[in-house]
Subunit: 162 residues, 2 copies
Amino acid sequence: MMYQQGPLYLEDLSPGMHFAAPEWEVTAEDIVRFGREFDPQAQHMDPEGARDSFFGELVASGWHTAAMVMGMAMRSEMQMTGGQAGISVDRLHFKRAVKPGDTLRLDIEILEARRSRSLPGRGIVQYRWFCHNQHDKAVMDIVATALVRARDDTTEPPDKTD
Amino acid sequence: MMYQQGPLYLEDLSPGMHFAAPEWEVTAEDIVRFGREFDPQAQHMDPEGARDSFFGELVASGWHTAAMVMGMAMRSEMQMTGGQAGISVDRLHFKRAVKPGDTLRLDIEILEARRSRSLPGRGIVQYRWFCHNQHDKAVMDIVATALVRARDDTTEPPDKTD
């Protein structure tokens, strides 16, 4: 794999490029705190009550896992100049429950990187965030599209406008 | 629109059914707290630093908005017996930035509800979570699929197994 370091512009990205990210330790306290605020189901708040749930034990909310993946991605080697702005999540699969004590790992792969045809100085990047746990089991698979800055801030020819 | 109240099973859901949810007030403190943990970009942490970002001001992380949408959905009238477990997010569009002082509103619409062909007593439901702000502007549009409980816990005939 080819790893790149930021701060980066659109022109530094190309399909097939990978970026590393720091690991993320998952605690029961974090799971319960997120669950109480955003996903108040027994399996995300209460180890006792979780026994009668689909999971049978305390697990992280899927949206908590997505937020942790975002937390790793934003601390990864893919540091875009001026940050990035999400456009869409094109696919997200909850592959496996995340439990207290898990260590999450993230691989970022660039799927597409192109100029925006309507916004001068902007690029559109589609990437895959593939997250697995300490046992190398997949926990979340996300394909998403975001707006980034281009080094060249001219606009594409008008016949390519989208 | 037809509104239903729980606790519900798969058999209580049908396409076209809508569920109401409580509103959600967005504060600058919540935006910054989520941003620091999961999306440490200037536009989600620092009103000053946000001026040079894509948004020009403090806005909620898109994943924070998704979590707030989940928070509303889990407190909605769509209360499933034994809760639910996410399978996939089939589509998610970040339509508009969420700002401090916004009030979010959510409409839940059932798109599909069917028996699981492999899991006895389980159902697969696809729904749309459409979130707008106090100005009736769309902020997030999610289509997702989840596992729920069926009242009838027999298994489908084996020729339909998936």
